[in-house]
Symmetry: C2
Amino acid sequence: MAHIALGVDETLFPGITGPMIYRPETAKPLNDLAEVLLRGPHTMSRGERELIAAYVSGLNECRFCCGSHSATAAAQLEQGMCLVDQVRADLDNAPVSPKLRALLRIAGAVQVSGRNVTPALINDARRAGSTDLEIHDAVLIAAAFCMYNRYVDGLGTLAPSNPQAYAYSAKRIVETGYRA
Amino acid sequence: MAHIALGVDETLFPGITGPMIYRPETAKPLNDLAEVLLRGPHTMSRGERELIAAYVSGLNECRFCCGSHSATAAAQLEQGMCLVDQVRADLDNAPVSPKLRALLRIAGAVQVSGRNVTPALINDARRAGSTDLEIHDAVLIAAAFCMYNRYVDGLGTLAPSNPQAYAYSAKRIVETGYRA
């Protein structure tokens, strides 16, 4: 059970959904940010951006966010959950483009600290073809999930153990987005 | 100089302001979130909420955010920068209420990981008189600054060394808020 009384049945509204119902004033900008970063018009696909979110959530050991964004990435990537699992288990050898790998490395640095993003990591991303906007958004997606993950776990919310729960919520996000 | 070309003179638009001009689509929800959390109607004063932001930014060693939110806290606290410095240097002995100290301890736990927020920390906050909403917002302010700090430093933006720069920006924030 969450640390505070969210006023919802947590088995129906697990993870971030309970706190978002509890505090709609903060839910709005949180959802707006996720919508722009993960679903807005972009040179990176929605699946690739969700993969960055899932990767960072895994590094933060946030079960709910990692489950949710892994499922949402998988639903929008041709290679599905197999690729998500490979990236999370062994980024160096996962079958992603050099550009996406370089952006995931930047995201991994951000997860530890913004100050861990080195000119060498930025240069690697550039050499692999990343634009300034892609670098900006990789940094901000990683930073944002350092927030969402801490929000979800800092309130001690429920993380479903059944993968079906995440697949169901992913289907809803793919169809209607974060603002719905 | 920042890791990407922000298209602004960084001496005029340091820290988070450059990336916000560069990417207005993400700046909007980021500013909306800060406005609700740090300035919206609340049982915690604006100064107290800025103090949580400054404390977490200090723990994350984010010079720009710590300078900016320390100045904004100081401008809205009766005891000014002296209190901000005491809280940052020695929370256990700083002259704050037991309630604010307990909420700052929760924020400090969130800075490390959401999973570090223990039932004992929550119970201490409750015993000191914290409401569920105050606990919720302390967690989310701390989580949000784990994002803002990583965004600012992950892009390698400029942090002014002159305290006057932060005092000037604090005055603007106190007068017009984060959405201006």
